[in-house]
């Protein structure tokens, strides 16, 4: 079935996730959607599947217009989506989940023998060795993902959307999936395929559409004739941010040294940060970048490794010990784990300094006001006063509150996890300016970001993580969007370029 989109827009409040996207996904094709995190791929996929209602734009199935596509009408039209989030019922069996859309019935009562038989047949057809009677909750994550794909396939969809559906699969499973996709394509279905792995895209996709910041930037018709380098450039290719000029700081003595850090998510990470230095950390979601920051802050148990702050060994026991050692974390999701949204700016700013602002457990109002006013003024938080409730601030000002709170502890090293997410250019340039000032005063910074231009603008060195290990480290002088992009997506950086078009 042909699916076409015309001038599609989707915005979440002030954030524009899709801007004027027009695209066409033809029958009998596997069409890849490419783009960085936050480029709008998932939003587009969800709109296609009728899970999100677009803000504006038109939508056609086989030339027939749908104004507002709802999930149910999309399913009726034969559109089916598989995500990485998982939508199986863990307490039910494999068979029940597989046939949930239409359980076979006899005289109005579910026929369990038929459920077993049909489920077994469907699983075998997909090459999936699972007991239809097993509970889904007991399956491994990759088996669950396969089951989810198998369920979509039993519906014989006319349009199948796979959003990062291969991220937890093994090589053999991916092959089985691709075989099924080819069969489906042969039957005339449209398949929209989203994956961070360029090698998979090359293997299965016929054409590709590249999104960046919600805009459609390129449609690649000749996928085999386009190099990895070229694709990555389309995905990330902006000129490096011009809004911030880094002031060169001579790095001082070593502040943080990490040797062979291993946890459930990290596979032997080593790094070092000097005074006055910004270490950028790049990587996909799930590459271990957030895990690294949280582990250094003492939130996860470590299996092995050594962490030293200014030469002294530090035990990663918890936030309080980390803060005492001079480490602070600005978490990725400021609403969920950064701010107490219902509390005032003042109460949020003084959270880390309860001992200093009180005497025998009683808050000394004057002392608290001193701490609070200082951060409020230094960071130029735009609000009527420190009594304003944080929920009423803009994203940039909320982030300033989180920063002000950690700065109130006079830290030696800041762990910033996606600090500029959702900020407009003005707020971002304020933030970078502030980080630059702090670094000049001798602070060390670990700066995690998915925005490659931001990393190049702010960091002295950039460490790239891929699947829990260090994939490479690039100095500021040598950093380019293409090189970083290649390391981040796990593509083969230089050799692939040498090979040229196939």
């Amino acid at each position: 079935m042909k699916v076409s989109l015309s001038h599609l827009y989707k915005s979440y409040g002030p954030v524009q996730a899709l801007v004027d996207v027009s695209a066409e996904f033809g029958p009998s094709e596997v069409h890849a959607l490419l783009g960085e995190n936050g480029s709008g791929k998932s939003t587009l996929a969800k709109v296609l599947a009728g899970l999100l209602v677009p803000s504006a734009g038109e939508f056609f199935y086989d030339g027939e217009r749908h104004d507002s596509v709802k999930a149910r009408s999309a399913v009726a039209a034969g559109v089916c989506m598989v995500t990485q989030e998982g939508s199986l019922a863990p307490e039910l069996t494999v068979g029940e989940n597989l046939l949930a859309a239409e359980l076979p019935r006899r005289f109005g009562k579910i026929s369990w023998s038929q459920v077993r038989r049909r489920a077994a047949a469907a699983l075998e057809g997909f090459g999936l060795d699972l007991d239809p009677g097993a509970k889904v909750g007991a399956l491994r994550i990759d088996q669950r993902q396969m089951l989810e794909i198998a369920r979509a396939l039993t519906l014989e969809p006319k349009v199948l959307i796979l959003d990062e559906a291969t991220s937890s699969l093994t090589g053999d499973q991916v092959e089985a999936l691709f075989a099924a996709l080819r069969r489906l394509r042969g039957a005339g279905a449209t398949i929209v395929f989203i994956s961070h792995r360029l090698s998979e895209v090359r293997e299965i996709a016929d054409r590709a559409t590249v999104l960046r910041d919600g805009h459609l930037v390129r449609v690649v018709d000749d996928l085999p004739g386009t190099s990895d380098h070229d694709l990555v450039l389309s995905m990330v290719g902006r000129p490096p941010s011009a809004f911030y000029h880094k002031v060169a700081v001579e790095p001082g003595e070593e502040l943080l040294s990490v040797q062979g850090l291993r946890t459930k998510r990290l596979r032997g990470v080593s790094l070092s940060v000097a005074r006055g230095e910004v270490l950028g950390v790049a990587g996909l979601v799930g590459s271990g970048r957030t895990s690294l920051a949280e582990t250094l802050f003492g939130l996860w148990p470590t299996d092995a490794g050594e962490v030293r702050v200014e030469g002294g060994r530090v035990r990663l026991k918890g936030p309080r010990q980390a803060i005492q050692a001079g480490l602070v974390l600005v978490p990725e999701d400021r609403k969920r784990s950064g701010l107490v949204l219902g509390a005032t700016i003042g109460a949020n700013l003084s959270m880390c300094r309860h001992e200093e602002i009180s005497q025998r457990g009683i808050i000394r109002g004057r002392r608290e006001q001193l701490v609070v006013d200082r951060q409020f003024g230094d960071l130029r938080i735009k609000a009527p006063g420190t009594g304003t409730v944080v929920a009423n601030l803009s994203g940039g000002n909320q982030q300033k509150v989180v920063l002000g709170r950690v700065l109130a502890t006079s830290p030696r090293l800041m762990l910033l996890d996606e600090p500029a997410r959702g900020m407009d250019v003005g707020a971002k340039s304020d933030l970078f300016q502030l980080i630059g000032d702090l670094v000049q005063e001798g602070m060390g910074v670990i700066f995690i970001s998915s925005e490659i231009p931001d990393l190049i603008a702010l960091a002295d060195r950039i460490l790239v993580l891929y699947e829990g290990a260090v994939a490479g480290e690039i100095g500021r002088a040598e950093a380019s969007e293409e090189r970083l992009g290649a390391l981040i997506t796990g593509a083969h950086p230089e050799p692939m370029l040498a090979k040229g078009p196939r």
């Binding site: 409040g13 002030p14 910041d213 390129r218 449609v219 803060i323 784990s337 509390a343 880390c352 309860h354």
Partner: protein, 341 residues
């Protein structure tokens, strides 16, 4: 590359004017305080009954209302702390009955009165500590834990006494706590006022109180700033238990007996009062002032109905309706308030 990086958004996507701007002065005032809704209804009730019932505003009647609800005030103070911390203590009704039972037993076995009272308070704190350790330290669900201890504490009281009440009429201090006066004011009112003052101070002016709000507002963020979550949460339930113990002593004094089978369901009245006063189940917000209004609402309603000669059974219907209205108001308030300024 056919990049088209700058595209103007289509008409109709421009920011809509904030809902807040259309509210006007009174609307904004309503948004500011959680307890404004119940406060307004309370004021209307007071005005109405002071015109229709001449005894309503008499000193004696006001004293009556406060005295009758003194125990409710004490229990509500503890529950307010728990609920701001994003919990619920369903076991307070059972705990305060059990404390009364044990107090009577201690006095019956010849324990000196003051010591018996101290032990009874301590027992209340221990009953709260059990909840606190299970919820704060072992991280069990507060609802299930306190539903369990609600049954457990009540069961222990019943088994221990076999359902028989026991007189404490011969004990002077207990009698004074339940029925005496200080400067003409009934002792239970003085106790309730003192509890309100202390708990109000703790919530507003201490680091502990601040943490009760912050953890209730966002536990994850509090954890990341090094605030001790478990310790604070345990203390919250100990306070609730301690105040339940105090309420149990006042009840013993008022009845001059233990009453193992009485007052079933008071925990629901307590929670209703706290919710009426604007503490939300999502935690982190609300105040003791609101809870006081909640108790006054319930107390004044019952009193007015009885003065007007209307069946007390109506009280539950009105309380139910107002509670749902209060929640509706709170939901609307938050939905409008959520719009960014």
């Amino acid at each position: 590359m056919n990049a088209q990086d700058s595209t103007a958004p289509p008409a109709g996507l421009a920011a809509a004017p904030s809902n807040r701007d259309r509210l006007g002065h009174w609307g904004r005032l309503l948004l500011r305080r959680e307890y404004i809704g119940v406060g307004v209804v309370l004021a209307i009730m007071v005005v109405y009954w002071s015109f229709t019932q001449d005894r309503f505003l008499s000193g004696q009647n006001i004293k009556n209302v406060l005295n009758t609800n003194a125990i409710l005030f004490v229990l509500v103070a503890g529950q307010t702390v728990v609920m701001i911390n994003k919990g619920i203590d369903l076991s307070v009704g059972s705990a305060y009955i059990l404390v009364g039972v044990i107090l009577a037993a201690l006095l019956g076995s010849g324990t000196p009165e003051v010591l018996a009272i101290a032990l009874a308070l301590g027992l209340g704190a221990v009953l709260g500590l059990v909840n606190g350790l299970l919820i704060g330290w072992l991280k069990f669900d507060f609802f299930v834990v306190t539903l369990g201890t609600l049954a457990l504490y009540r069961g222990v009281g019943l088994v221990y006494t076999n359902g028989q009440s026991k007189s404490v009429a011969g004990d002077a201090v207990i009698n004074f706590i339940g029925n005496g006066t200080i400067l003409g004011i009934p002792t239970p009112i003085v106790i309730a006022a003192a509890v309100m003052a202390v708990v109000g101070f703790v919530l507003r002016y201490t680091i502990f109180g601040r943490r009760v709000y912050l953890i209730g507002g966002n536990e994850e963020a509090s954890r990341l700033t090094g605030i001790p979550i478990a310790r604070t949460r345990v203390a919250v339930y100990v306070i609730s238990g301690l105040l339940a113990g105090l309420a149990g002593i006042v009840l013993s004094g008022r009845l001059l007996a233990s009453n193992p089978i009485g007052e079933s369901g008071i925990e629901l009245t307590v929670i209703a009062a706290v919710l009426l006063g604007g503490v939300s189940l999502s935690g982190g917000a609300g105040s003791l002032v609101g809870s006081i209004m909640g108790v006054l609402f319930i107390g004044v309603l019952a009193n007015g109905l009885s003065l007007a000669g209307i069946s007390a059974f109506w009280q539950q219907i009105v309380t139910g309706v107002i509670l749902v209205l209060a929640v509706a108001l709170d939901t609307v308030r938050r939905r409008i308030g959520a719009v960014k300024t």
